[in-house]
């Protein structure tokens, strides 16, 4: 599977993240003669166990971070941070969890935007919003390099692409999300589980930013 790298917008000191930044990003990508293809949406949710009786010890996972992708509509991925695992389940798992009321959805962050094709690169640009209230938490970019499936091989290519693309941008920059995939027993060969981990980390990052 082609490698995807995630970048989040870091505004320079003094400026704020706004939806104007996102429009600027779109314009910049368009100027490179990219072809706009589709909308994309990724939903990352945090689930906590539904504990009815406080006295009973809880022997299940304390926190489930679930991610769904419009590109893989029949799957849902769960990241268990304490257990260092990324698991894949069928999309009906969500319905099952609703019915059983075992875990409840506490928070949801929605990533959505437009996708562009630029030669062998596929770029998704969009915003991250907290679901019920729809306030903007961040701007993200996902760069996918189609010919390569190995994380190490794609590093130079993708980082240089972002460098070239960001030349001359003043108000801030896109910072790559660096993750330690081996902590979660994920190999160098990229697959959906890597993507799930990336988006969940991004969600956690955005949520933590607000509190500080």
């Amino acid at each position: 599977m082609p490698v995807k790298w995630l970048f989040y917008w870091q505004p320079n000191v003094g400026s704020q993240v706004s939806s104007q930044t996102l429009n600027d990003v779109f314009k910049r990508i368009d100027s490179l003669h990219a072809t706009k293809s589709t909308r994309w949406q990724i939903t990352a949710s945090q689930y906590r166990p539904n504990v009815r009786d406080q006295a009973l010890p809880v022997d299940c996972a304390r926190e489930l971070l679930g991610v769904t992708f419009t590109e893989a509509p029949d799957k849902i991925f769960f990241v268990l941070r304490q257990e260092h695992m990324v698991v894949e389940a069928d999309a009906t798992m969500q319905a099952i969890m609703e019915r059983l009321q075992v875990y409840r959805n506490r928070l949801t962050v929605l990533f959505e935007g437009f996708q562009y094709e630029l030669g062998d690169f596929r770029v998704k640009a969009g915003r991250a919003v907290l679901a019920p209230v729809e306030n903007l938490r961040g701007i993200i970019m996902e760069v996918e390099y189609m010919p390569v499936s190995s994380l190490e091989q794609s590093r130079a290519a993708v980082l240089e692409f972002m460098e070239l693309w960001q030349e001359g941008v003043i108000l801030g920059q896109f910072v790559p999300l660096e993750l330690n995939f081996t902590d979660f027993s994920l190999s160098d060969h990229y697959c959906w589980q890597h993507t799930a981990l990336q988006y969940v980390s991004l969600m956690a990052f955005f949520l933590s930013q607000q509190r500080t």
Binding site: M1, P2, L32, H33, L118, G119, D120, F121, M146, P147, V148, S149, S150, E152, Q153, S154, A156, A157, E160, F161, L164
Partner: protein
């Protein structure tokens, strides 16, 4: 130029072709005459109309018209006779009917001569426009016709290794095998591959017989039935071949398992550098070391288009394939027996495609001006001998270059010196 039918069939096809062309040329001239005659007729009628008012002496209006009418009649008669000649030579009418009976595919009428062989130039026009299945049939017919004509007109010439080993099953032409392994000085495939495997760790070369490769590639989507030579596709298979390339098949009976059977020759090499690229090389004739076609793909690509003449989905690998074909032909021109080895060494120099910086601009990715796309440095110099170097010198250079990773020269498309 009226020849009897029996005389015509004795002539070699080029002569027949020349006659046919000449006959057609004459027909075109006659048609032009008829057209000119029609113009003249109109003129004469016009003149007659203007002269009606004033009938002068011995010139009558009807004379002019009569003259032109005679001229036209003569032209039409000649046209008719030329037409009959051409029909007798099998160039027209009769061919149309015969063709429609045999191959109802709504195609253009090719020029068919008496023994069923397709006259070359019309055949060439057809090939360019057809779909893969009909192209295979035509190639089969044409090869049959060529072989037969060659037998008739050039009886002194020995068996041609290229056409016969591909079109005839191995069991029918034992002499072909003999001529393949004739010279002891010609390189043997297994030796070359063993040398390559030891010199280039990390590059994996797998051998396939051609039919086994086809079945491997097509997988569950379609089956290539070797007995009838028919390729049947299911609804969502994606088989795309470059136009004009006939499917060659080893007509050995039954299906070949992926492992090599002793009677089949190695015809396809799959060269993989894990994580970087996968190259498919086709060998012609099968079992020898002479590469015929090469194409480069990403290691994760799947599909029926992964053939030695296929086109990758990614722009990067398309560029690599183009360069590979260029290098292949340069090497073939230079020295046919060392081509495979040099080609594999050149492929091996790509093992750091995504991490090595370009020598000129010191970056990994750069814009390629005409297409506006980013590419890593994908130009690598190949071992093309110049007249001044002798082969011993270049042998030493070869081993040095492949030993040290740092010395492999890499360039972007725009940064490469012009002579590469």
């Amino acid at each position: 130029m009226a020849m009897s039918i029996s005389q015509e069939s004795e002539l070699a096809p080029p002569v027949r072709l020349a006659n046919a062309l000449e006959g057609l040329g004459r027909a075109v001239r006659h048609i032009a005459d008829v057209r000119a005659g029609a113009d003249l007729l109109l003129e004469a009628l016009d003149a007659a109309a203007s002269m009606r008012g004033r009938e002068t002496g011995n010139k009558k209006a009807s004379d002019g018209i009569q003259k032109v009418a005679d001229f036209m009649k003569k032209a039409l008669d000649e046209l008719q006779s030329t037409g009959r000649e051409l029909e007798a030579a099998g160039v027209l009418h009769g061919a149309q009917q015969r063709f429609e009976e045999n191959q109802p595919w709504n195609l253009q009428v090719p020029l068919v001569s008496h023994d069923g062989a397709l006259v070359p130039y019309a055949w060439k026009r057809q090939i360019a426009g057809q779909a893969a299945a009909s192209a295979f049939d035509r190639a089969r017919l044409a090869l049959k016709a060529f072989a037969e004509q060659k037998r008739r007109f050039f009886p002194g010439l020995g068996p041609d290794v290229v056409t016969e080993s591909n079109s005839n099953p191995p069991s029918e032409t034992p002499k072909t095998d003999g001529s393949n392994q004739a010279a002891t000085s010609s390189p043997v495939l297994s030796d070359v591959l063993r040398r390559i495997q030891s010199e280039m760790p990390g590059m994996v070369v797998t051998q396939y017989a051609r039919l086994a490769w086809m079945n491997n590639r097509l997988g569950s989507n379609s089956r290539f039935d070797s007995s009838t030579g028919v390729l049947s596709l299911s609804a969502n298979s994606s088989l795309s071949l470059r136009k004009g390339m006939a499917l060659t098949s080893q007509l050995a009976g039954g299906e070949a398992p992926p492992s090599l059977r002793s009677s089949e020759k190695v015809a396809v090499l799959e060269v993989t550098i894990p994580g970087i690229l996968r190259a498919i090389i086709s060998l012609l004739p099968p079992g020898s070391v002479y590469p015929d076609a090469i194409a480069v793909f990403s290691p994760d690509e799947r599909g029926g288009h992964i053939q030695a003449w296929g086109v990758s989905q990614h722009k990067l690998h398309q560029q690599l394939s183009e360069r590979a074909v260029m290098v292949l032909y340069q090497l073939l021109q230079q020295d046919r027996s060392s081509t495979l080895e040099l080609l594999l060494q050149w492929l091996y120099s790509y093992r750091l495609l995504f991490t090595k910086q370009c020598i000129e601009c010191k970056h990994v990715m750069a814009y390629d001006a005409p297409s506006g796309l980013l590419f890593p440095p994908l130009v690598r110099p190949a071992r093309i001998l110049s007249a001044a170097q002798n082969s011993k010198e270049s042998q030493n250079k070869k081993t040095d270059e492949t030993n040290a990773d740092n010395e492999v020269l890499a360039y972007h498309l725009g940064c490469a010196p012009k002579d590469l």
